[in-house]
C-alpha cells in the first residue's frame, strides 16, 4: 500500500477524509491513509507547504491566499476536489440576537431582513459587536462580509471580526468575549445545545451552494504523483457518495465523534449531516436540506469560477490588488482538469464546463454531462447578484465596497 498523509482540522466537514480511511475506500485504492489531526489552519498550511503531509483539508480561500503569497511562505496549491458544499452557521449570543426577528425560523428564511436587523442592532449593542471567525481567509469570513456588506455594514469598521480557533469559539461566547461567531459544524450546534447562542443564519441561506473546504496539495507534488492523485480522488469520490447516503448517517456521526476526530457528541454532529438544525435549544429543529452536501450535484467538482469568486472578494476587501497575474493564479488553484482525469472512468456525472456563472440558478437545472443526468441545485446568492467570472471588474463595481 502507498502511504499518504493528510492533515485535517477537527470539523464535521472532514467527513469524507475520515470515511475514506475508516470505511476502506482508501485501502481499496491501495492507499495507506494517515489523517493528521491539526488544531490550527496555520499548522495545516505549514504541514502542507513544507511537505510534512501530501494533502490537506483546507479552507478554499486559504488555498488561494497561499498561492498568491498572502499567508506566509508562498506555494502554488492545487485543489482537485472539493470536500463539501456549505456547512456553516452564524450563531449569536441571545442578547444580541434579541434585536432580530423573534421567530427564529424567519431569520434563516429571510436573510435580507436579518442582515438589515443585524445592521440596526449594531448601534444599540453595549459595544461594537465582536464576531468570531476562524480565519481571515475562510469562506465563513467572506460570506459574513458579503452578507453584512449588503446591509451597508462595513465589516472592517462597524464590527470587529476576531479570529479564533473553532474549538475555542463556544468558550469565548460563554465568557462574553465575543457576541457571536460564524464557524463550521458542530460548533454552532454545541453552542445552541449549551443554551449559549442562537443560530441566526446558515451558509446555505447566504449562498445556496457556497464553496467551503478543499482537498489541497502542492502543485509540484500533484504533477509528480499523477497516478497516486487519481487513486486518491477515486477513493474520495466513493467516500463522499457514502457520506451523502442517509443510510450511513448515524455510522458517520459515530465515526466523527471519536476522540481522534471531532471529539464531540454524535447526536450534535448528526444535526448537520441530516439538515435538522436546532436554531434555539428549546424549539423544534428546522429542516435545512442543503445545509451540508458531500457528493450529490457534483459537489466535489472544483469549478474554476469559484476560485475566481474568492479572488474577487480578496480584491473587494483589499486583501490583494487586482492584477491579471493574481487572477490567473487564483483560477489555477481549482483543478477541474485533475478531477476529470481521475474520475473519467467512474459513474460520477461530470459537468461539461469548468466555469459557470455563480449564483444564476434559482431552481434545480439539468445540465450537460458526459454520462447520466447531472442536476445542479439552485446556487443563488441571497441578494440575487450573479458572478460572471469573465466580468470581474464589472461585478466589483456593483458593490458600494
Amino acid at each position: 500500500m502507498t502511504p499518504l498523509s493528510i492533515a485535517f482540522v477537527p470539523l464535521t466537514d472532514a467527513a469524507v477524509l475520515v470515511a475514506a480511511r475508516e470505511r476502506g475506500f482508501a485501502a481499496a485504492e491501495d492507499i495507506d491513509l494517515t489523517l493528521v489531526r491539526t488544531t490550527s489552519w496555520a499548522t495545516v498550511r505549514d504541514r502542507l507547504v513544507y511537505g510534512q503531509v501530501q494533502a490537506a483539508h483546507m479552507l478554499a480561500p486559504l488555498a488561494v491566499a497561499v498561492t498568491l503569497g498572502l499567508s506566509q511562505q508562498p506555494a502554488a496549491i492545487a485543489a482537485p476536489f472539493k470536500l463539501n458544499v456549505n456547512g456553516n452557521a452564524l450563531t449569536l449570543a441571545a442578547d444580541f440576537a434579541a434585536a432580530l426577528d423573534p421567530v427564529s425560523r424567519n431569520r434563516i428564511t429571510d436573510p435580507e431582513a436579518t442582515a438589515h436587523d443585524f445592521a440596526g442592532a449594531i448601534g444599540l449593542h453595549r459595544r461594537k459587536p465582536i464576531i468570531g471567525v476562524v480565519h481571515r481567509f475562510s469562506s465563513h469570513a467572506l460570506m459574513l462580509r458579503y452578507w453584512l456588506g449588503y446591509a451597508g455594514v462595513d465589516p472592517d469598521r462597524d464590527v470587529q471580526l476576531r479570529v479564533l480557533p473553532p474549538s475555542l469559539m463556544v468558550e469565548a461566547l460563554r465568557a462574553r468575549e465575543i457576541d457571536g461567531f460564524l464557524v463550521g459544524e458542530p460548533w454552532s450546534s454545541v453552542a445552541v445545545d449549551s443554551g449559549l447562542g442562537e443560530i441566526a443564519a446558515v451558509g446555505a441561506s447566504i449562498w445556496r451552494r457556497g464553496v467551503e473546504k478543499l482537498l489541497a496539495m502542492r502543485e509540484d507534488w500533484a504533477e509528480a504523483n499523477a497516478a497516486l492523485v487519481d487513486r486518491l480522488l477515486r477513493a474520495l469520490d466513493r467516500a463522499a457518495r457514502w457520506c451523502d447516503d442517509p443510510a450511513n448517517r448515524s455510522d458517520l456521526a459515530e465515526l466523527l465523534a471519536r476522540p481522534d476526530y471531532v471529539a464531540q457528541p454524535a447526536a450534535l454532529i448528526e444535526r448537520a449531516l441530516g439538515g435538522q438544525i436546532w436554531l434555539r435549544r428549546d424549539e423544534a429543529p428546522v429542516e435545512v436540506p442543503d445545509f451540508l452536501l458531500f457528493h450529490r450535484e457534483a459537489a466535489n467538482f472544483p469549478w474554476r469560477s469559484q476560485g475566481l469568486w474568492i479572488y474577487s472578494q480578496f480584491v473587494r476587501w483589499g486583501f490583494t490588488a487586482a492584477s491579471p497575474d493574481a487572477e490567473a493564479a487564483a483560477a489555477r488553484v481549482f483543478r477541474s482538469d485533475l478531477y476529470r482525469r481521475a474520475l473519467a472512468g467512474s459513474g460520477t456525472p461530470m459537468p461539461g464546463a469548468s466555469m459557470k456563472l455563480e449564483g444564476a440558478l434559482g431552481a434545480p437545472l439539468g445540465v450537460g454531462s458526459d454520462r447520466g443526468t447531472l442536476t445542479l441545485g439552485p446556487d443563488r446568492f441571497f441578494d440575487g447578484r450573479v458572478f460572471d467570472p469573465s466580468r470581474i471588474e464589472e461585478y466589483l463595481a456593483g458593490f458600494a465596497r
Binding site: 513544507y50 506566509q72 479564533l164
Partner: protein
C-alpha cells in the same frame, strides 16, 4: 534580542527558557496562548516569537501579524525558507519561529536549533513518563489477576503468573490484556477478591 515563547505547556516553556538563558539570552518572556495574549505580544514587541505549533491559537496570532499597526516591520515564519531540513525538523518537533524582518538568519538559527532540541527532549521525557505510567498500570492489573487466580483456583503466586503468561502466549495477547479480561469476567461473576 527580545524573545517571546508562546506555549500551551508551561513546563516545556520553562525548560526552553532555562536553555536560552544558559546560552546567554536574557530578554525572554513567556506568554501562554490564552485570553488577551495577542495584545500582550503586541505590547511586548519581540524580535523573535517561538510558538508551539500545536496551539489552536496560532490563527489568532497570525491575524495580529496581518492587521497590527504596532508592528511596522513584516514578520516571517522561519527566517530562511531555503533551509528545508531545518524547517522539517522544526515542524516535526512542533516548533515554529516568527522573526521580524531584517534579522540576520545567523542570529536566529542558534535560537531555533536550541528550541528544537528542547522540544524534542521534552517529548522524549513525556513519552518515557507515559511508558512508565502504562507499565505501572499493567503491573497493577497483573497483580489483581494473580490474586483472583490464587483465591479461586488455590494456586501459588508463581503458578498464577505462569498460567497468565501461558494463556497470553497461546492467544498471542499481552499478559495485561489477559489479566484485564480475567478481572472483567470475575467482576461480572461477582467474585471480587
Amino acid at each position: 534580542m527580545r524573545i517571546a515563547i508562546v506555549d500551551e505547556s508551561g513546563l516545556r516553556a520553562t525548560i526552553l527558557e532555562d536553555g536560552l538563558r544558559e546560552a546567554g539570552y536574557d530578554d525572554i518572556t513567556l506568554v501562554p496562548p490564552r485570553g488577551a495574549f495577542v495584545a500582550r505580544l503586541e505590547a511586548l514587541a519581540p524580535d523573535i516569537v517561538i510558538i508551539d505549533l500545536g496551539t489552536p491559537s496560532r490563527d489568532s496570532f497570525e491575524e495580529m501579524l496581518a492587521v497590527s499597526r504596532a508592528l511596522a516591520r513584516p514578520i516571517a515564519m522561519f527566517v530562511d525558507a531555503s533551509d528545508e531540513t531545518m524547517i522539517g525538523e522544526a515542524i516535526d518537533a512542533g516548533v515554529g519561529a516568527y522573526v521580524v524582518d531584517g534579522f540576520a538568519k545567523e542570529r536566529v538559527k542558534p535560537v531555533l536549533d536550541l528550541a528544537i532540541r528542547r522540544f524534542n527532549a521534552f517529548a522524549a521525557l513525556r513519552s518515557e513518563l507515559e511508558e512508565a505510567r502504562t507499565a505501572l498500570a499493567e503491573r497493577r492489573l497483573i497483580d489483581r489477576a494473580k490474586a483472583i487466580l490464587m483465591k479461586s483456583r488455590g494456586l501459588s503466586e508463581a503458578d498464577a503468573y505462569a498460567l497468565l503468561r501461558k494463556t497470553a502466549m497461546n492467544q498471542s495477547r499481552k499478559i495485561a490484556d489477559v489479566a484485564q479480561a480475567l478481572i472483567t469476567a470475575s467482576e461480572l461473576l461477582g467474585e471480587m477478591p
